[in-house]
Amino acid sequence: MKRYSAFAVAREAMTYHQGWERAWRSPEPRDAYEVIVIGAGGHGLATAYYLGREHGIKNVAVIEKGWLGGGNTGRNTTIIRSNYLQDPSAAIYEKARALYEDLSQDLNYNIMFSPRGVMMVAQTHHEVRGYQRTAHANALQGVTTEFITPERVKELCPIIEINGPRYPVLGALWQARGGTARHDAVAWGYARKCSDMGMDIIQKTEVTGIRQKNGVVTGVETSRGPINCKKLCIVVAGHSSQLAEMAGFRLPIESVALQALVSEPIKPCMDVVVMANTVHGYLSQSDKGEMVIGGGTDGFNNYTQRGSFHHIEETVRALTETFPMLARLKMLRQWGGIVDMTGDRSPILSTTPLGNTFVNCGWGTGGFKAIPGSGFAMAELVARGEPGPLAAAFSLGRFTEGRFIDESVAAGVAH
């Protein structure tokens, strides 16, 4: 693999940029691998990458039914933060945020990590108390956040209306090292490194069945024939229930559509990420100038990758109230992704009833920010066969044992 650098750009310029090689190979699947990862989104590719980097397991295939990074990895609003209330969440999201800091150098691929700061504005007294509590919890967890005043909010984000008639801004939870990254580049960067380590990324290949013998996985059936494996890792977000059914177990997961939209590009007007959970809108400005807007989820199961229109109406209504200057913007695009929601709104990184089979799912509406930490923890789980400290609390068994990681109730936040 040729290293990317300023010198490489200069060198390739000599030959009119005809000499760039493909970032990853598209090989024919082999008969067998040590580990098969189903799903070439951010989480699946990161799992494969850390299996190779941390545990020396490079005989790995990543199988993807569509194209690499074409699911939720390419459909989110690219926000990165780790200001969670519960200790297990803070640990894995902060691990992810910390890995994002130098991921561009690690992967030799510019993922455009921009730690521009994330603020979650408090617009009710309940939220003020909630975020103050989170700030204290974060201080104990080693996650750097602070509760800031409305004046400071206005200073950091001049376009916000802090004296709105319905929900004035009463303060905010501020994480200065949160921010955004280029979501596609995260998938592409991991894919390029995985391919360089000799792993096979097999796109446009759908897994249609899971082979097992004596309660242990032996391989998968795919649209391009059977492939054997010693270990199987299912990382397919919205379609986790279908894969679990093939493997013969059930998951506490429901799949719903989550929407996002972007505006026409405008000049730079906002250099932080703002989340307003009471009115349910979150907003950041992309490098192209588009305002990137996160919307809501539907209340019913849905696999159509489009959501209901009234959620867009609600989101836009919330945003024009909080950011009056946006009222004149035209919206360019709207899209949906299918997110996998668990009962406690926390993810599942776990062994399963089928031997040597592991599942990483349930990231729901907040998976992008977790990609490096999720891959790191999952690789440890797959390599050792048992969870390390980051994944331990996120087992499937927590639903039987009542050890919920109750972010939705405790923090009341959109992820």
């Binding site: 229930s241 199961n301 039987t400």
Partner: protein
């Protein structure tokens, strides 16, 4: 936008008039049940890509709960029926079979 016809008041209700109530025909388990059954009841969910049965509330209408049979892959509605029924009635099953031959959902087919 989803439009479901309420089997009680007969109104063709839009999604904003309704509240989704999740998986239909749950078997309830309480004290004395095994851990597995109780976990399954509380957190295990049918999550099919295709034929699905759900409970819906006609919240901004007559206020009654009812059942709906729907396809989660196409958002097509097969029909709605009374909340008093403990399994999908024959006409609903026929309507589904006409469009999705060989469908299965939990113990129903």
């Amino acid at each position: 936008m989803l439009v479901l016809t309420c089997p009680y008041c007969g109104v063709a209700a839009e999604e904003t008039e309704l509240h989704a109530g999740g998986e239909a025909h749950l078997k309830r388990f309480g004290p004395g049940a095994s851990d597995e059954d109780f976990t399954g009841y509380l957190f295990g969910r049918e999550n099919p890509k295709g034929v699905h049965f759900e409970r819906w509330l006609h919240a901004n209408g007559c206020g009654k709960w009812f059942h709906a049979a729907r396809c989660t892959a196409t958002l097509e509605l097969f029909g709605t029926y009374s909340a008093q029924l403990t399994e999908p009635p024959e006409p609903i099953r026929k309507a589904i079979s006409a469009k999705r031959p060989g469908w299965r959902w939990r113990e129903f087919s």
